[in-house]
Symmetry: C2
Subunit: 360 residues, 2 copies
């Protein structure tokens, strides 16, 4: 029974009697992205029951809400990770956490998210349901709301199942004074947890077909709670924050030294790294320093609050393995130098770009 025929039969109140798309369609069809009845049904049957709230349910062209005066943070990321589902997360959890974290490291309490879905014709609706379920879980963990969204469908063979864009709006804490320009000699660098797990879990999932098994799981998590705990404890003695996503810890550290034009000395033995992550990296010929993380915070703090900062982080479930890994020195060479396990020294460089495509 087609929706069109039912629609012809009477007024709009009959719409609730339509067979929902999960009974009529098992997979995404191009018409789901046409902006017509089928798009409405997809939103009504799959998106709103999972992510719905008073603002999203308005389904207007924009979400409209009141804001108080102050500083706000606005950010966006698109997610194209392959495979869509991997140990520890999926593209939905990633899309929520990645954008929440971009706000958190600017000292912002995330408020609202937008979600733009680009779906491939033929995508199983069950996969979409799981991804949206996972978004809903991450949204609840982060304490944000999805207030506006959009769905497009592209032809079979494109978009690898789905791409997701999220944009986020947050309120910057008045006590946050995070700025690269405030970083100075003596400041300490803290890493909140073992590195490399996200990128390697995703890479190993891709290799699964080749019989490689592992217990590695992505670290993907919303960091706003952890950042909040750190700012509560140390206020403006926290001078800079970054999450070590694409480009990995190496990307953040080399950026820090390059943009501050200070020397940054890091002790390799103090960088938290799980043994299985280290093995996996070796097996794949990767440096864990270069590998993307999705729930790993890098914090620059004044030396006077180092212990308080570590205590605050370690008291939080996402920061129990937080470690002090290095400090800014007096040289103004703009280099990040790592002292290796065997006492050697090498300059950390920002990865060129090829290492890990489609990792987030």
């Amino acid at each position: 029974m087609s929706a069109d025929r039912l629609r012809m039969a009477g007024p709009s109140s009959l719409r609730t009697e339509y067979a929902p798309p999960n009974r009529r369609h098992r997979r995404i069809v191009l018409a789901h992205g046409g902006g017509g009845q089928l798009t409405d049904e997809l939103v009504d049957e799959i998106v709103r029951p999972r992510l719905g709230n008073a603002l999203l349910d308005e389904l207007d062209d924009s979400a409209v809400f009141d804001v108080e005066p102050g500083r706000m943070a606005f950010t966006t990321d698109s997610y194209v990770v392959q495979p869509l589902e991997f140990p520890g997360g999926d593209i939905g959890r990633l899309a929520v956490c990645g954008t929440v974290n971009d706000m958190a490291v600017c000292g912002a309490e995330p408020l609202h998210l937008s979600v733009g879905l680009i779906l491939e014709e033929g995508l199983e609706l069950d996969v979409l349901r799981r991804v949206i379920d996972s978004m809903a879980t991450a949204v609840a963990e982060a304490g944000v709301t999805v207030v506006t969204g959009d769905t497009k469908v592209v032809a079979r063979g494109q978009a690898d199942g789905m791409y997701v864009n999220t944009a986020g709006l947050g309120r910057v804490r008045p006590d946050a004074r995070l700025a690269l320009a405030r970083v100075r000699q003596g400041d300490r660098v803290i890493v909140s947890r073992p590195i490399g797990d996200h990128g390697l879990a995703v890479m190993l999932q891709r290799e699964e077909a080749f019989g490689i098994e592992s217990r590695l799981a992505s670290d993907v998590a919303p960091l706003n709670g952890l950042v909040g705990a750190l700012l509560d404890a140390c206020g403006e003695d926290v001078v800079f924050l970054r999450d070590a996503t694409r480009g990995g810890l190496a990307g953040v550290l080399s950026d820090l030294s390059e943009r501050t034009r200070l020397h940054l000395a890091v002790d390799e033995t103090r960088i938290p790294l799980r043994r299985e992550t280290s093995y996996a990296a070796e097996m794949l010929g990767l440096d864990p320093l270069d590998v993307a993380n999705e729930g790993t915070l890098v914090a620059v703090v004044r030396p006077a609050v180092l212990d308080a900062a570590l205590d605050a982080l370690r008291a939080h479930p996402l920061g129990e393995h937080a470690a002090d890994v290095g400090a800014f020195g007096s040289d103004e060479d703009g280099l990040c130098e790592i002292v290796t396990e065997v006492g050697g020294r090498r300059v950390i460089q920002k990865p060129y770009g090829e290492e890990l495509p489609r990792i987030c």
Copy 2:
């Protein structure tokens, strides 16, 4: 000469001597999306010279700015139009105008945009330059700034060259009182310009290979100026606004009657429609009412201000052909009925979804 070798040779000040990507690369490679040096170069060489401003140039994880108290509008759309360039616009102009318009029809002055690019490996950098140039033009027309962005690259054969997501943040005018719940019997419906041009220009561009030529051009334009003029003239006697994008004018009109549960009577002969658009639609077997527009405003106004509203719209370059097309009647049947040229009557339905894939 590789960027890596130069980088080894000295401190970061040397970076400005790198050959920019336009000299080293003519096309997008996967590494442009890796979040490493090559991503930085793409942003520095192509994006920032065209869209740069004080906020974007910070290149932080989020753009941070002050806001005044009040109501804000937040929206997002992804754009997957094919072909990327078409008469009257391209995916870049579309991505700016579409999101600006979603804010404008909520009575918001658009302030800031985010831009998320998903680029296909192999995309010519010249195409990307033209698209970003076109975004820059539209951004200037709309008076907004792009304050944050993201670039991902996917493998050859995916993403049809590029997909673009924009999200937008705007400030709702305090004098705007736009709400479907305010629509009542007697209210008039105005259409700001001839319908169907965007969808048909794009469709004809696709058919160009088959020898069909036309002078049709997309209507894609930022509507915030036109909406501003209307609100200045008629204030809260403007009760509802919508731009007639996917689903076309039929989608907006059927939504209006369905969601207000009022009867909406529309006179077909008064709907602005160019002769060449009508011919093109006939040739392609499409109803211009169903075809997407990207610069066409539908306004519901109190009958007392109908003339003032038409005057205000017609005084603006984007509204010179504005026309009063119908009115809400006393029946509470939730139907939109159109009186055809020959005096017949038919109920307008929201398109099901298949008509025009990949039109925006």
